[in-house]
Structures are given as structure tokens and as C-alpha cells.
């Protein structure tokens, strides 16, 4: 364990996030972007770098990027240009990546993050458009690398933060927020493990009382939210130790090794880059019209903060419940579609937050794969609302529905089949209650002498004798009426 007092240092972190956009076709050619096709089947002469091909810009690449810019309060450039980033690698057959350099389409935005006991705005320096490279496979052939160019030319946006992030936890929150926004907007599926979201980090440390930033290192290969947090924690620690032991941090690109839980330096050859950017001569400057911006602004969905606030006001939910329900757009949609069919929004919140999210967690699935329809869940909740079943019966029926997700049975069918319908029928309840009263004369006497708390005892006895099927409200009314009447008779 290190004995260094880390309180004397602070970290300066900036993140670069790449998000793969959910367009139908590639950035510069009408080839499908669908995931999972067999190798080298989703390509055109442009994707494989044949001479004489020309890129033509996909309108949705620009529109999706504008959306992201609007959602993060960016300025939208009315004119921006593409640039060539030149380097040689086999998965980039043209010898350059089409990207944006000096004039990104979006710039100077902000992203709000909520931490446990404070909140913070992180600056967005820029968001620019670019194309993805293909995929290289190094482990199938001992002498060769294999290249699949299906992904070559798939559109990406790169979101570059200002160095406003101070802790690994803030970095984690920032990423979570980016994921939330891209999925709310529907421009990216937000899956970091599958590479739809990728993150690189720049990090340096400095003594708290110093103004200038220290030398930074760049971290790559951070392919999960947790890895970003862990790699930053490791690297901050490492840099502080280097400085404390009298050394100097050297500007390097480092790879995170998730197995060893440490960073390692890339070979100098891997990082020797001089990209010689210049304006892409094959694509004229991108013109964004006012009407495009207005159309995209109108298409913006209700964003998470606004939706959360509306849930609190409209459905009278607690701030915490509203936060959890709006964290993912799909969960919030799911919740609202049940609420439309049921009287009490709070009971829907309870079921979704306890039962539904528990199942998603246990099965590691997203809500889009939740097997029971919102309509059937709505019936189930309404049944409980109408006092036709008990709350434990609600859980039992919920579990039964999960077992048979395709069954054409309503919640009420289940309740009847499983003998869980509460009985409010006085003809059924009366003999049971009479029996309970006549077999407990002592309690009756004490109740009538003023020990009114004993009502609970009578209800419990009746519930037990009815095997939980009696409607407790009804039972309470009937018992108290009988006991009070008994009082008059004596």
C-alpha cells in the first residue's frame, strides 16, 4: 500500500467518446450498416478503397449529429468541412480516414452530471463526424492478419469533453450520461461491450495549489464503463507515485490491460503518428440549414431530466423512483404504457421498480426483451387496485406469468386458476366470521370491554380460515359490525 497523501493532488481528465450511429447506410455510400453479416459482404468499391470512387454524404449522419449537438447545448456550425486523416493500416484501405479536424459540426456544449452529493457541468469541446475503420483479426492465422471491411465506413461521432472531469467517478457518470442521451435520442445503441460506444481518456495530475496542468497520458482500450473508472484510478495513482518519487510523467499512449488491471505502454511504433490532416477534396463543405436544425430540434424526444420532473409532478412519484424509472428511455416508455391503462401510477411504479427490474437484472436482459406485455401487467395491477387479489397474490401471479409469457391468459384467469381471488362475498365470509367469534369468547369479551386492538386478531383468524382469500377490508367491516352489534345485544 502506498503511503502518499493523495489529497495533495488533483487529476485533470478529458474523455473522447466514439459513438457508432444507427443509420441504415454507411457514412459515404449506400451500403447497409447492419451488424453480424458474414465478412466482406457489406461493402462497395468505396469501402474497399478502389480508385475512382467518390464519397457522398449520408444526410442522417449530419442530422443525428445535430441532434446530439442540440441535446448537449452545442453551437451548430452552419458550415463545416471534412478532412483526411492519413495513416496506413490494413483495415483502412484508402490510406486515410474521412474525419473532421479544424471545423467540427458541433462545438462548445455542456453535459450535466449528477454525483451522489453534488452536481457538475462538464464542457463539451466538440462533436465531429467521421467514418469507422474495418476489423482486423490477428488470432486465426499464425502468419497473416485477416481483414473484414463490413464496418469500414460506418458513421461515428466523436464527442470530446473539456478537461473538466476531476475523478474516475465523474468520468463514469459522464459516460453514463452520454449513453443515456444517445439512447434517448435513438442515434446509437450505447453498447460499450460491443463497441458501439468507445472511450479514450486523457489524464494528468497536479498538486492542488498549482495552476498549470501536468504532463498527460492517453489511455486506450477502455471497453467497459468499469474499465474506464478502474484504468483512470490506476493511472492517477501511478502518475502521483512517479512524481512523488522524483520522476517525471512522460507523454505516452497507454493500453489498459483488463486481465492484469494495469496500464502498459504502447510500442513507440504504434504511437508514432503524424496524420497530416488536410481538407477532404472529394466532399464539399457541409452546409447545415436553419430548417434542418429546427426540424431536428422539433424531433428531440423528452430528455431524461424533463421526463423525471414530469413523472414527479404528473404521477406523484418520489424523486428517487422517478430517477430510476427515467434512467433508461425504454424503461420509462414501458412504465408509461402501463400507466395509461391503470388508475394508480404509484402501484405501477412499485411493480416496475421491484419486480420487473429484478427480473431484468437476474436474466441480464434489457426491458425490450421482458417477456410479459404491458397490457397483461396492467390487468394484474388493476386487479390488485380493485382489491380482488392480495399483494402477495400479485407477486405469485407475476411469477406465473413469467413462466408462461406466451399464454393467452389474463391476470384474472390466473387468479381464478390459482385460487387467489379475494372473496368479498358475505355469504362466504359470514359463517367463517361467526365461527371465529363463537370459538373465541374471551377475546370477544375483552374487545367489548374496550380492547379494540383485538380486531387484528379476529381478522387474522378469519384470513387464516379462508386461506388468505378473504378481502381483509371487507372482513374488518363485517367483524367490527358483528362485535359492536353483539355489544348492543348483551
Amino acid at each position: 500500500m502506498s503511503t502518499i497523501d493523495h489529497q495533495n493532488y488533483e487529476a485533470v481528465i478529458g474523455l473522447e467518446v466514439h459513438a457508432q450511429l444507427l443509420t441504415e447506410s454507411k457514412a459515404f455510400t449506400s451500403i447497409s450498416t447492419a451488424f453480424g453479416a458474414s465478412p466482406n459482404t457489406q461493402i462497395s468499391p468505396l469501402c474497399i478503397g478502389h480508385p475512382g470512387t467518390l464519397p457522398v454524404l449520408n444526410e442522417n449522419l449530419v442530422r443525428y449529429t445535430i441532434k446530439m449537438g442540440l441535446a448537449t447545448d452545442c453551437e451548430i456550425a452552419r458550415k463545416s468541412i471534412f478532412a483526411r486523416k492519413n495513416y496506413f493500416y490494413p483495415d483502412l484501405p484508402k490510406g486515410y480516414q474521412i474525419s473532421q479536424y479544424e471545423t467540427p459540426i458541433c462545438h462548445d456544449g455542456t453535459l450535466h452530471i449528477d454525483m451522489e452529493d453534488y452536481e457538475k457541468d462538464i464542457g463539451i469541446k466538440r462533436i465531429h463526424m467521421e467514418e469507422d475503420a474495418g476489423k482486423s483479426i490477428h488470432d486465426q492465422d499464425p502468419h497473416n492478419s485477416l481483414i473484414d471491411l463490413n464496418r469500414a465506413g460506418v458513421p461515428l461521432i466523436e464527442i470530446v469533453s473539456e478537461p473538466d472531469i476531476s475523478t474516475p467517478e465523474e468520468a463514469y457518470a459522464y459516460l453514463g450520461r452520454i449513453k443515456q442521451i444517445v439512447t434517448y435520442l435513438g442515434v446509437c445503441d450505447g453498447n460499450m461491450e460491443e463497441g458501439s460506444l468507445r472511450c479514450d481518456a486523457n489524464v494528468s495530475v497536479k498538486p492542488r495549489d498549482r495552476k498549470e496542468f501536468g504532463t498527460r497520458t492517453e489511455l486506450k482500450n477502455l471497453n467497459s464503463f468499469r474499465n474506464v473508472e478502474r484504468a483512470l484510478r490506476y493511472e492517477i495513482e501511478r502518475q502521483i507515485e512517479v512524481i512523488e518519487s522524483g520522476g517525471e510523467v512522460i507523454q505516452h499512449t497507454l493500453l489498459w490491460d483488463p486481465q492484469k488491471q494495469q496500464t502498459r505502454q504502447m510500442r513507440t511504433k504504434e504511437e508514432a503518428h503524424d496524420y497530416r490532416y488536410f481538407p477532404e477534396p472529394d466532399i464539399p463543405p457541409v452546409v447545415v440549414t436553419e430548417s434542418m436544425i429546427e426540424e431536428e430540434r422539433e424531433r428531440l424526444p423528452e430528455m431524461p431530466d424533463v421526463r423525471r420532473q414530469r413523472f414527479i409532478e404528473e404521477f406523484e412519484l418520489s424523486a428517487d423512483d422517478a430517477y430510476r424509472l427515467t434512467e433508461e428511455r425504454e424503461v420509462a416508455d414501458f412504465y408509461e404504457s402501463i400507466v395509461e391503462q391503470v388508475e394508480n401510477p404509484q402501484s405501477v411504479s412499485n411493480l416496475v421498480l421491484t419486480e420487473v427490474l429484478r427480473v431484468l437484472n437476474e436474466r441480464s436482459i434489457g426491458i425490450e426483451d421482458f417477456p410479459v406485455s404491458t397490457g397483461r401487467l396492467a390487468e394484474l395491477i388493476q386487479l390488485r387496485e380493485d382489491d380482488k387479489i392480495s399483494s402477495s397474490a400479485q407477486t405469485e401471479i407475476f411469477d406465473a406469468m413469467l413462466e408462461e409469457p406466451e399464454a393467452d391468459k389474463s391476470a384474472e384467469d390466473y387468479a381464478k386458476e390459482m385460487n387467489l381471488m379475494q372473496v368479498s362475498d358475505t355469504d362466504f365470509l359470514e359463517p367463517i366470521i361467526d365461527e371465529v367469534i363463537s370459538s373465541n369468547p374471551d377475546e370477544v369479551k375483552r374487545y367489548q370491554e374496550g380492547k379494540k386492538g383485538l380486531i387484528g386478531f379476529f381478522i387474522g383468524q378469519t384470513m387464516e380460515k379462508s386461506r388468505g382469500k378473504a378481502n381483509p377490508k371487507m372482513v374488518r367491516e363485517m367483524i367490527s359490525e358483528k362485535l359492536e352489534n353483539g355489544d348492543q345485544e348483551s
Binding site: D141, H143, P285
Partner: protein
């Protein structure tokens, strides 16, 4: 401004080209001549001129986000110096 043979070698390396020493010297001389010529343009006062990003004055056109038939798989691999039935094959890029 003067280009050295070391700089020519560096640029050649970035472009994956290799030259003998005498070729490097010739190229450095050529490049210096080109740059001298460019310097001449620098004598003009262009303070009021917008930077030119593109030589053709086109009205910008977008492509609708639609898909077309891809290139036939075998056709695509046909011109590759090396390939197997699925992939382009290149000399191993990592050790």
C-alpha cells in the same frame, strides 16, 4: 524555408516509400523549388480573402439514408493480392 534530406526521409517514411541518398537529395531540391514558388504567392496581400476549402463551388447535396445492393463478395475479393474465402489476407500486422 528549406527542406532537409532528413525531412524528405521522414515524409517518405510516412508514405511508406524508400529512397537512396542521392534520390533524397534530388527530392529535397525539387521540394525546395516548389516551396520557393509558393513563397512568391505569399507576397500577395490576402488579408481580406476568405480561405478556400474547396475548389469547386458546388451546392451541397445530401444522400438519403437508404441502402443498395452491396458489391458481390467474390467480386470484391478478386482483386486482392491475397484472400481466403471470407477475408482479405495481409501480412501479419502485430508481432
Amino acid at each position: 524555408m528549406s527542406v532537409t534530406t532528413e525531412e524528405v526521409e521522414y515524409i517518405a517514411d510516412l508514405a511508406r516509400l524508400q529512397f537512396e541518398q542521392d534520390e533524397l537529395e534530388d527530392l529535397a531540391e525539387d521540394m525546395n523549388q516548389i516551396l520557393d514558388y509558393m513563397e512568391k504567392l505569399g507576397e500577395l496581400d490576402t488579408g481580406d480573402v476568405e480561405p478556400l476549402e474547396h475548389v469547386v463551388d458546388l451546392e451541397f447535396r445530401y444522400r438519403p439514408d437508404e441502402t443498395e445492393e452491396p458489391l458481390d463478395h467474390d467480386e470484391a475479393l478478386k482483386n486482392a493480392p491475397d484472400a481466403d474465402s471470407d477475408y482479405f489476407r495481409v501480412p501479419r500486422v502485430i508481432e
